[in-house]
């Protein structure tokens, strides 16, 4: 039976993890390799590295960091942030990324998904969408949630999958940072709409939120979170033990 994936997401600026974590026994809290290894050894099923660098020098440092991680950590690596062209795909795949997530770049240029899927395969292209309710309608936002694209979220992910996105990450702006649980209404609508893996993001405040996510929506494949893992509030081994107790298949 396929297991539910738990995915920590790390924001990287100039090759260093920002909002570094605070774990005992980890001396360099902003080292992508150190943190990647920590999560990999503690049950993470996949890692997402999100490049929030603004400069080209920072981009180069990100590539170096990614290469160093990929040399030492043997679980799937997904890279997002600043992916606007096929050259960007090429750049991160050559550094050892397994999957590439597109967000604003695909909103600006919807053909990017199809071109990338044709060149690298569907399994390589992850469509990530930041979604917020506007007038009761799920709407896609661009540029890190700052700009309303006007696109209907469900229609957008359906079209992304039709063009070759092999997975969908749904980040709910409404529940993000609130720590009151994942956006089950949005996720249910997404699972109804597409037949590729759906990854839930935004809103996890504790172990119970993951249990509720997978119990309520068995079609959701993975839960992604950042701060609750980084601040040590939720340890992945404890989270997985709780999921297993609740009859949810996980890799331990």
């Amino acid at each position: 039976m396929i297991t539910k994936r738990i995915i920590p997401c790390l924001d990287v600026r100039d090759g260093r993890v920002v909002k570094g974590v605070n774990f005992e026994g980890l001396s360099d809290v902003s080292s992508p390799v150190g943190l990647g290894r920590f999560y990999s050894e503690n049950g993470a099923d996949e890692l997402v590295f999100y490049d929030i660098t603004a400069s080209s020098e920072g981009r180069r440092l990100f590539s170096d960091a990614l290469r160093a991680v990929a040399e030492q950590i043997f679980i799937p690596l997904t890279v997002g942030g600043a992916i606007n062209t096929l050259d960007d795909f090429d750049r991160v795949l050559k550094c050892g990324a397994d999957k590439v997530s597109v967000n604003s770049g695909a909103i600006r240029d919807p053909g990017l998904i199809l071109r990338a899927a044709k060149k690298y395969g569907d399994q390589c292209v992850v469509l990530s969408a930041d979604v917020k309710r506007v007038g009761g309608r799920f709407t896609v936002f661009a540029k890190g949630g700052r700009e309303n694209s006007g696109l209907d979220a469900i229609a957008w992910i359906k079209s992304g999958v039709a063009h070759g996105a092999g997975e969908v990450v749904l980040n709910s702006i409404d529940t993000d940072g609130v720590r009151g649980g994942f956006d089950l209404e949005l996720l249910a609508a997404a699972c109804e709409a597409v037949n590729v893996p759906v990854i839930a993001s935004g809103g996890a405040g504790g172990i119970g939120d993951f249990v509720r996510l997978f119990k309520t929506l068995p079609r959701v494949d993975a839960g992604l979170a950042a701060s609750i893992f980084h601040f040590g509030e939720v340890g992945i081994p404890a989270l997985k033990a709780a999921l297993r107790e609740n009859g949810i298949p996980v890799r331990i």
Binding site: M1, I2, T3, R5, S40, D45, A70, E71, Q72, F74, I75, P76, L93, K94, C95, G96, D98, G121, D122, Q123, G166, E167, N195, V196, P197, R219, D221, A222, R251
Partner: protein, 206 residues
């Protein structure tokens, strides 16, 4: 020396890193001489079967791999590299494989229950099955260990050589062995410690 065969298909970076992490002396090359010189061979691959098969043919690597395998040199195909070992594939029309393991590669869609997603992406458990002795390549892992899978096609008609299956509504072929030819549908180089242990066992085969 273990050779990772480079024939222009897929990302070899992770595989190279995984072997180097295990302390295995490895090289990446598509040169016939390197293939002949190697103690064992790894055939990776991501993408479409037809395209990969054609690249092997253009390089003359297909014949060479068949000769090397016949001589008893250990060979491991991974993901698409595993699918290439079979007699044929039905991905975008019928394409002949390397005939190193009897069986054929078919889309999984018609065989799995409704509601199961395609591709089969994620961590799934290996089942060694009844009656099949545990393969030497699995000597450092256990039945039930999870591996990372990403595929929409799977081998069928190869029960006699199947050394592990994985459950996705139905059992799918996860690993095969015929003499010293091994095929892994999943990515051992992306399957954490358990995956590295499979590569380690393979690299110990003399």
């Amino acid at each position: 020396m273990t050779l990772i065969i480079n024939y222009g298909v897929g990302n070899l970076f992770s595989l190279k890193s995984a072997l180097s992490c295990l302390g295995v002396e490895a090289q990446v090359s598509g040169e016939p001489e390197a293939v002949r010189r190697a103690e064992r061979l790894i055939l990776p691959g991501v993408g479409a079967f037809g395209d990969a098969r054609e690249k092997l043919r253009l390089n003359g690597l297909d014949r060479l791999l068949q000769q090397e395998a016949a001589s008893g040199k250990p060979l491991m195909g991974i993901c698409l590299g595993m699918q290439l070992l079979f007699d044929r594939s039905f991905e975008y029309g019928e394409t002949e494989g390397l005939h190193l393991v009897p069986g054929e590669v078919r889309p999984i869609a018609p065989f799995i229950p409704k509601g199961y997603k395609i591709p089969h992406i994620g961590w799934n458990a290996l089942r060694f099955g009844d009656g099949i002795g545990q393969s030497e390549v699995f000597k450092y892992i256990s039945d039930g260990d999870c591996m990372y899978f990403v595929h929409s096609f799977a081998a069928r008609g190869c029960a006699a050589h199947t050394i592990a299956t994985t459950e996705y509504g139905v059992p799918l072929t996860a690993a095969v062995q015929r003499d010293r030819v091994f095929g892994m549908q999943f990515h051992p180089e992306k399957s954490g410690r358990a995956g590295l242990n499979i590569l380690k066992a393979f690299c110990e085969i003399q």
